[in-house]
């Protein structure tokens, strides 16, 4: 792995996730939008299973990085490979890549359809015409929403609360059976209970797939465990297992961020 020399990565016992073979690999990713440098030589990898938390101040480039991973931004430089395949030459193009790498945005966006139809929204026309009840139940259960909506699956999705809509978006992404899950601050505007339910779902899902979760909430990053990737000003500053990252941060920038939630890495 070709990692920026300024990035600090711990390879110690207890960093089990880092010891696993990597499934997603980013090498020297740079991105410029409107003549402004957003990402600068970002390199890291995600293990085949487990949660990785991407933290950093606003404007660090975290959300942009997720968009590069799914080619929603396509003018980035560097190499991104998923399961050893370069995402630039993904079989079936960007649409197929996005079905393989699920992305859940910060703000839930349900489509003007029923709860049931929202869950199967991403499936092919042929699949949608078949009975997908079992798939819908499985995905809603995985997203910790089944108990709350099982009696009203054909109600409009926009009648759900924001927290429920966010979990519906998670179920909708899971219905495509992605092999990687990317989440952009999935619990930013949720109540504590919804937050707790989504975190529990992520822990379950992470047993089978790599999950990259952007979060501003440092306590959440601690709870999610796995590896923590700290970004500031478009650069990766430090990567470590959650316990080490929060108890023994190596970099001065990390310590400043953990203490005062600010980062000056120019």
């Amino acid at each position: 792995m070709n990692i920026n020399t300024n990035t600090h990565i711990k390879e110690e016992k207890g960093v089990e996730s880092c010891a696993l073979p990597s499934y997603v690999r980013l090498e020297n990713i740079s991105l410029t939008l409107s003549e402004k440098s957003i990402l600068k030589d970002v390199s890291f990898s995600l293990p085949a299973t487990g949660i990785s938390s991407l933290i950093g101040p606003s404007g660090a480039g975290k959300s942009s990085l997720l968009r590069c991973l799914t080619n929603l931004y396509d003018n980035w430089q560097g190499t991104i490979s998923v399961a050893g395949i370069n995402t630039r030459s993904w079989h079936g193009g960007d649409d197929a890549l996005r079905r393989h790498v699920g992305l859940i945005a910060q703000k839930p966006a349900v489509f003007p359809a029923s709860i049931y139809d929202n869950v199967i929204f991403g499936l092919s026309r042929k699949e949608r015409k078949q009975n997908q009840s079992s798939r819908v139940e499985r995905c809603l259960t995985q997203a910790a929403l089944w108990d709350e909506v099982q009696d009203r699956l054909h109600d409009p999705a926009n009648t759900l609360s924001v927290g429920q809509q966010q979990r519906l978006c998670l179920a909708r992404a899971l219905a495509l059976e992605p092999k990687v899950l990317l989440l952009d601050e999935p619990t930013a505007s949720l109540d504590p209970r919804s937050k707790q339910l989504i975190e529990a779902s992520l822990h379950d899902l992470a047993k089978d797939m790599p999950i990259l979760c952007v979060t501003h909430d440092l306590e959440q990053a601690q709870r999610l465990q796995g590896q923590v990737i700290f970004m500031c000003d478009g650069k990766v500053i430090e990567i470590a297992a959650a316990n080490d990252f929060f108890e023994h941060p190596e970099r001065l920038e990390t310590r400043e961020f953990l203490r005062w939630s600010v980062c000056d890495c120019d």
Partner: protein
């Protein structure tokens, strides 16, 4: 200050109401159901302007149907083009191209409709030999309403929350699937509002069809798309020239009331749709 500004705004509120009431009062002597559903083509020989004007009270049905036919043809021609322009603007145009497109539409919207009529006369009637016809009128009206229709379609697509588009893309939906399954269900009411406003505009245009599509009389229903039609707008124009005949002037006012009613129907439908769109 509030009172002063309210007084300044008062004419803007009162003038349309006063005009509407005046038209209704003037139209009242001639306005009846027989006039609206009756046909005037049988009342005189084609081309006999003065004879027809004298018998003008026989009915407006052929004029109403002519106006509606031209409006429908114009919308059928302009709507797919406007939709394509809006989709190009949303999907593929660079920011610079988007700015240029908006400017171009604004410029086109500012061109007097008579100029479009003149261009249509030269191109369609003289060069292509279509003759004074429904087709010529429909094409010219389509060009007149295209900027309005395109601007409304662009704005309808712009009102779609970016999160919906990104979510659709993140699910791996193709561009076609995103347009039909996400954009249209969200933007249909905005687009339909634009179409209704464009219909009202097409109904109210007179100058571009005056010498390209319509005749005063002799036509009940056009034989083909390349036959001339009669229309309410031009009918009012011809009748108004008969200032000395009181009955003809009454019929002109009645025609104006019918036309106004049609335009208000489309405009109010658009208004109701916009309210529905805002509430949802």
């Amino acid at each position: 200050m509030k009172v002063f500004l309210s007084l300044l705004a008062l004419p803007a509120l009162l003038l349309p109401v006063a005009c509407f009431l005046y038209i209704i009062v003037q139209a009242f002597p001639a306005l009846d159901w027989e006039l609206i559903v009756g046909s005037s083509a049988s009342s005189g020989a084609a081309g006999n302007l003065f004879g027809d004007a004298a018998n003008a009270g026989h009915g407006l049905w052929s004029q109403i149907s002519g106006s509606l036919l031209m409006m429908l043809l114009a919308c059928l021609l302009a709507a797919p083009i406007a939709l394509s322009i809006a989709l190009f603007h949303a999907l593929w145009a660079s920011p610079r191209q988007q700015r240029m497109l908006i400017t171009l539409l604004q410029v086109l919207q500012g061109i007097p409709p008579i100029v479009y009529g003149l261009c249509g006369l030269v191109l369609l009637i003289h060069l292509l030999h279509w003759g004074i016809s429904l087709a010529a009128g429909g094409v010219i009206l389509a060009v007149v309403i295209l900027p309005l229709l395109s601007s409304n379609a662009i704005h309808a697509l712009q009102r779609i929350p970016i999160e919906q588009t990104e979510s659709a893309k993140a699910l791996g939906l193709s561009v076609g699937a995103m347009i039909t399954r996400v954009w249209f269900p969200v933007a249909w009411s905005g687009m339909l509002t634009g179409l209704l406003l464009a219909m009202a505009r097409a109904l109210s245009e007179t100058a571009p069809i005056l010498f390209t599509a319509t005749v005063f009389s002799g036509v009940l229903w056009p034989d083909s798309i390349f036959s001339p039609v009669t229309s309410l707008q031009t009918h009012i124009f011809y009748l108004a020239q008969e200032g000395s005949n009181a009955h003809v002037i009454d019929v002109a006012w009645a025609s104006a009331a019918v036309l106004l009613g049609l335009v208000i129907c489309f405009s109010l439908s658009a208004r109701l749709l916009r309210r529905y769109e805002e509430s949802s």
